[in-house]
Amino acid sequence: MTFKQMFTSSVGKKLVMAFTGIFLVLFLVVHAGLNACIWAMDGGVMFNKAAHFMGSFVVPRILEIGLFLGIFLHIIQGYMLTLENRSKRKIGYEVNYSKGSKWYSRSMAILGTILLMFFIIHWKHFWIPSRITGVAEMDLGNGFVVHNLYAVMQDTFQNQWVVLFYVISCIALAYHLAHGFQSAFKTIGVNNKRYHTMISTIGYGFAIIIPLAFAMMPISFYLHWVN
């Protein structure tokens, strides 16, 4: 059996979704942790230093390539699987069976589409200015100049519609994680009685805490909790 055969079977395609999903979950922890520096109440010095480290040090730059690969694989495979699975029932039911599963478990593609839209807009807000078009700089003394992404955040999150869109996206992320976190572990085969309780507890906790932390960031700037 080749790796191609392994990853293109119905179970293998799910393994791709699970492995990339778990990688993206790990990315969310790093992203939320670094962004939490905005709450250092130091005018963005610590946050800009952290962003500078991520943007200039070689390890995060290499991981960034993996991140983009992971995101695109997850998105493309997700859409391919959704279309393929939908094609398996040409004639639908008159009455749908909705009691047996959660709405968000059945709506991963829709939640994922909201996240894809968010990803494009979020990229345009921060990644493109920082990497390509350029942003204002902050002088930290002794010739140490960094991108002032804190100021970009301050500026971006003055628009109520942007803040609203970010918060809605965080809610979509919460539901996507509520199903995805546990599902990924089931797909890689971890679901015996001992681990099931642990994974579902961590999964629901993660699905609440991480999106909540992200949602508080635009809200903090909009309501001037941080300056």
Binding site: M1, K14, K90, Y93, G100, S105, H179
Partner: protein, 253 residues
């Protein structure tokens, strides 16, 4: 115990054969006892249709004891009807109210083509079992009972998985028309026992390959299959199948 009768409407999918277009037809069924089984209610409807010179509604059934896996029917939006852990043949009319309209649909999946009306062809399941749902044993005299030690927990889990009657309700309930609950039950009950060890790796790989060939969808762990399964097969079996697949496919030549 007093016996109540009720008058109902049944909205049934009628389709002459796999090549024709089907449609719903609504029938009135009168004086149905609440002690009747669901299939007895359909028998009464069919007797009337035959008497009137019409074509009876085709539906699968055999033992009518809830053990053979032959009955199907997607009733009011749930495979095997509203009761939990129950087959259609064990569903009784007391589950319904007088005057109610009951919608009866066949299992819907491309891999289960309609033969006629509510009867679908589930031979895809047979072919999946043929691909690996067997064990190699020594010929000769039967071995003594209990001569092979098996851990109690494994025996219980294997037995729970072996409860699967292959009715196809999991496929019917799944939004992806995935057969993973069925397949995982068949793989699990042999993978958990020493008798299943010789073909352990080839079994899971061949059965997954056959399942894909039959055109079933992928599992997205929504849990609809487990919720509707008449034999309460646990979705934990799917995780076990995934683990078996991952291990076997990584170590296969």
């Amino acid at each position: 115990m007093s016996q109540n009768t009720m008058n109902l409407k049944v909205k049934v999918w009628r389709q002459k054969n796999a090549n024709t277009v089907g449609a719903f037809v609504t029938y009135d069924v009168a004086s149905i006892s609440d002690e009747m089984s669901f299939l007895e209610m359909l028998d009464i409807l069919n007797e009337r249709l035959i008497t009137e010179g019409g074509d009876p509604v085709a539906f699968d059934h055999d033992c009518r004891e809830g053990i053979c896996g032959m009955c199907s029917l997607y009733i009011n939006g749930k495979p095997h009807g509203p009761w939990q852990a129950n087959t259609t043949c064990q569903l009784h009319m007391r589950a319904f109210k007088d005057g109610e309209t009951i919608v009866i649909e066949p299992w819907r999946a491309n891999s289960f083509p309609i033969v006629k009306d509510l009867t679908v062809d589930r031979s895809a399941f047979d072919r999946i079992i043929q691909a690996g749902g067997y064990i190699s044993v020594n010929t000769g005299n039967a071995v003594d009972g209990n001569s092979l030690p098996i851990e109690k927990q494994n025996a219980d889990d294997a037995f729970a998985a072996a409860m699967c009657i292959g009715c196809g309700a999991c496929v019917a309930a799944c939004k992806n028309s995935s057969a993973m609950l069925f397949l995982s039950a068949k793989v699990s009950h042999l993978a958990l026992l020493p008798q299943g060890a010789p073909e352990r790796k080839s079994r899971v790989l061949n059965m997954v390959a056959q399942m894909d060939k039959e055109g079933f969808g992928s599992c997205t762990n929504t849990g609809a299959c487990e919720a509707t399964c008449p034999k309460e097969i646990s979705i934990a079996n799917i995780a076990r199948l995934n683990k078996e697949y991952l291990g076997a496919s990584l170590s296969a030549e």
